[in-house]
Amino acid sequence: MPSIAVIRFPGSNCDRDIITGVASITGTKPSAIWYKDTDIARHDLIILPGGFSFGDYLRGGAIAARAPIMDEIQDHVWRGGYVLGICNGFQILTESELLPGALMRNVGLKYVCRDVVIKAHHADDGLLSAFKDGQSFRMPVAHNEGNYYADEETLARLQDKGQIAFTYTAGIGGDKHIDANPNGAIEDIAGIVSENGRVLGMMPHPERNLDPIHGGGGQDGRQLLKNLIEAVAP
């Protein structure tokens, strides 16, 4: 099993959920690393959890993206390490330019907290390698700034290189009432990967859909995390 660590910033609040979720899949509790610690070298996958790091002051994820630990994460990426950013973690990844584009205020100007259905895109290498093209997952989003934006040139490059990881889609099965795009994200983008496929940012919360008591079947988040972990250690 891969070695996995979860970074805790002041204001992270999904750290416990993702730690519990990963542990329920791998049987091993991931390390929790306080953002002031900088020793992350021995881990295969670094997870930046959701929450409101540093109160989301200035812009969501902006201050966390400039914390010294991000230099270590940059080195980890250069070494070919894997990174997963969920929600605020995705914002931190774009703010630190480990992923292109930006996450802007939701088009409806409202904090959105509801289930969405996302469609995965397969890639031969990296974190998307265990997904089937078009594989659907239902899980919650909960954010105020999830409206993904990239300029035309960046968007064309993302499309060209297969970097669009997840897109919002209309509900599947009995869930046709679910509208596709919750925040106005360009091209319905819910998540993107880096060019080498090893850095993934996504707005939906797989760690909030691990158990039948979470509703909506409660297994889609678990399956999505399983796919990611399988890609790190096939």
Binding site: R59, M104, V107, N147, A150
Partner: protein, 87 residues
């Protein structure tokens, strides 16, 4: 001490939903003459610096590294006496 004013706005081709909502509300109140409304952010800071050119340079650097997300935003820096620098 030099007082620096930094005005941050969305780039022109970036949708500003808050500006649109404010424009709609002004229209509802009868201000039909209102065209586009753009929102932004104002940051005022004091610099322990005596040279305005250096203050301007330092403020621009701060905008680039933290204060502004240059993918979606632009900024104007004004030194208290009115000197201006756009990016």
């Amino acid at each position: 001490m030099i007082n620096v004013l930094i005005t941050i706005q969305f780039k022109e081709d970036v949708l500003d939903p808050e500006g649109k909502a404010i424009a709609a509300s002004l229209h509802n109140l009868g201000y039909s003459e209102v065209g586009a409304v753009m929102t932004g952010r104002l940051i005022r800071l004091t610099l322990d610096e005596s040279d305005t050119a250096r203050a301007m340079q330092k403020a621009a650097k701060m905008c680039e590294v933290l204060l502004v997300n240059t993918i979606i935003e632009t900024y104007d820096i004004t030194i208290e006496d009115g000197e201006e620098n756009s990016a």
